[in-house]
Amino acid sequence: MSSIRLFLIASILAILTLFNFVAALQGYQASLREAEQLFDNQLYQTAKLIANLHTEQIQTPPSPQNNLAYQVWHNNQLIATSAPSLRQPIIELLPGFDHANFNGYRWRTLVFYDDNHNNWIIVAERSDLRYMLAESVITQAVLPILLGIPLAGLLIWLIVSRGLKPLRDLSEQLKNKQANDLTPIAIPDLKSELKQVNHSINALMRRLGSALDREKRFTADAAHELRTPISALKVQLHNLREEVPQGNEAFAQLEAGVERMQHLVEQLLSLYRSTPEEFSHQMTRLNLYELAQEVIANQHHDFEKCNQLLELEGDNCFVEGDPFALTTLLQNLLSNANKYTPPGGQIRVTTEAVGGHICLKVEDSGPGISPTDYSKVFERFQRLSHIKDVAAVQGCGLGLTIVKHIADLHNARTSIAPSSFDTGTAFIILFPRTPDSHD
């Protein structure tokens, strides 16, 4: 909600505005006081000038302007005035400056007593006019301060944006990072404030990377080491079968348990082999349709056991890939479909060219997966709980993770959709199309 940039721009601009405007206000008041003083002095000079003129000279108004008025009184007799209509004293005859209203205006007045001629001289200047004159001069000085603020705001905005750019770059780099990309972040010309952040992030990445490595290696080593004792167990079981009576429940359980353990270990090993670091590149151009045919032929008896209808549709499609890895991918997809489709259900494998892709689709008529769970499907050891009798289904929850790994290695996209049957799921793998993929 709150942004550093907005905070910096708003508060800097506010402080700048506050100080400048208050200073302008102070300047205005001081200048206006000065101007008042100046005008008053001028009025005083005018009064003295009038005092020194002869009565005949002042009979005719000295200037046609109507912003100045005067009266000269001698022994309560009006002897001169600026306008014939001004017969009453403008203001009480008390020496000094004051204000008075007459002729529909407000006037600044000065009463001056001339000792030489025993004359009272009243001079008045229009208040509003002299104020307007002073004010227009001073506002001209204040206006640039006001107009400068938007310009200052623009510059502050540019500078703050520029100053925060390294931070934005860093967050941009972090945002664009792939989930499995743990390489250190490199920002050219790093600012000193961000050095520690960058350093800490990179150290964290390194630690995370080595922890992940250790975990992977441990899994692979453990799986590898477990293979031999499991093989030995299977041999012993085979030998034992001769001595155990047929239909012994405990023995059947034991055999199934060992079978499951072997499967898990094999899956763990193929998971490890399908990580980018361990994957050995043996890409060749191969026919996906033929490969599917082969895998189906090998696994056909699993489907027959469950009375499931398995069909293969499509044409010859060629992809660049590793035959061993793609066989594993197909095996896993098929055994997944086999496990989660009830007996008597349908499974359809399709290979076809769609647009710029080669599409491998495995559909089943099982219970299906709710769209909210789509993202979880490819996670390790994820077995969706909504499927009934989940415990009854054999599996370790690694199959689809391996599928995803292998698809990633082939730059293929995996996705899930409802199947074209009434119920069920479609697993779709989109391989990039090689030149002449389709014959």
Binding site: S11, L13, L25, Y28, E135, T139
Partner: protein, 269 residues
């Protein structure tokens, strides 16, 4: 015209900016989107336009004291809305309460703006008929608005510099001061309209801090400073503060009461 327009605009903007800043702090603490402010600003703008266009008629209501009565009602309404806000914002987080909080915020800002900007509109309208006054007036309005808005922004950010646990109490205190100010001003208006009896002067600090000085104007806009307040105004001010504080306390007490049985339930589980 310049200084005059600075003072006039500054006073009106400052009063509104104070209220808006404090409510914005609450709204951010509540992680509420600031759309309510847009609603409040447009409602206030429309209201002030309506009021300023009809001012000539409004002031003839109630035997020529319509202006005082309308303004005072709005100020009393703001006081009550702030008290209601203090009550509902310190209470629980039910949707009903949340809606009440939004209504209080929008209505109080809208009323405040209606009152403040109606005067500005009338002033600007009068000035527009005299082109010679236009430049100094607009310059002054710009300076006044700039200072007022800047103070509002700085107040908003500086409230966040307080320790987290103090922000709410500080904002409540400011709201209480605004409420006191509003109710005191409204009381003064009703005295001016002769709807309330005139009372004796509480104190005279005109020599120490004249109202007609920059700090005097600032304090008037921020906390309703008066050099010569009447007894009734003092009572109204105190009543406004106490009302907001009491409602805030009642709201938070109610929340505690509601929370306790919840904890007891959990223990039984």
């Amino acid at each position: 015209m310049f200084l005059n327009s600075v003072v006039l605009i500054l006073q009106e903007i400052l009063e509104a900016a104070l209220l808006v800043s404090v409510l914005m702090v609450f709204s951010r603490l509540d992680e509420r989107r600031p759309y309510w402010l847009l609603t409040a600003l447009s409602a206030g703008f429309a209201g002030s336009l309506l009021l300023s266009l009809n001012m000539a008629n409004v002031s003839e209501w109630f035997d020529y004291v319509g202006q005082e009565v309308v303004n005072a009602s709005m100020q009393y309404a703001i006081t009550l809305l702030l008290a209601l806000f203090a009550f509902s914002m310190s209470g629980d987080r039910s949707p009903g309460r949340q809606r009440l909080v939004t209504i209080c915020m929008v209505a109080s800002v809208a009323f405040s703006l209606t009152r403040e900007s109606a005067e500005v509109f009338i002033y600007i309208e009068g000035v527009l008929s005299q082109p010679s006054h236009l430049q100094p007036t607009l310059t002054g309005a710009g300076i006044g608005a700039g200072i007022g808005i800047s103070v509002g922004i700085l107040l908003y950010y500086s409230l966040f510099w307080l320790p987290r646990c103090w922000i709410t109490s500080c904002c409540l205190l400011l709201l209480a001061l605004i409420a006191g100010n509003m109710s005191s001003q409204a009381t003064l208006l009703l005295t001016q309209a002769d709807w309330l009896p005139p009372t004796a002067i509480l104190w005279d600090s005109g020599h120490w801090l004249p109202e007609n000085s920059i700090p005097g104007h600032l304090l008037y806009a921020l906390v309703g400073y008066e050099a010569t307040p009447s007894v009734l105004q003092g009572v109204a001010y105190a009543a406004g503060i106490i009302l907001v504080a009491l409602m805030g306390w009642l709201g938070s007490r109610q929340r505690h009461l509601k929370r306790q049985p919840l904890l007891a339930d959990r223990k039984e589980d």
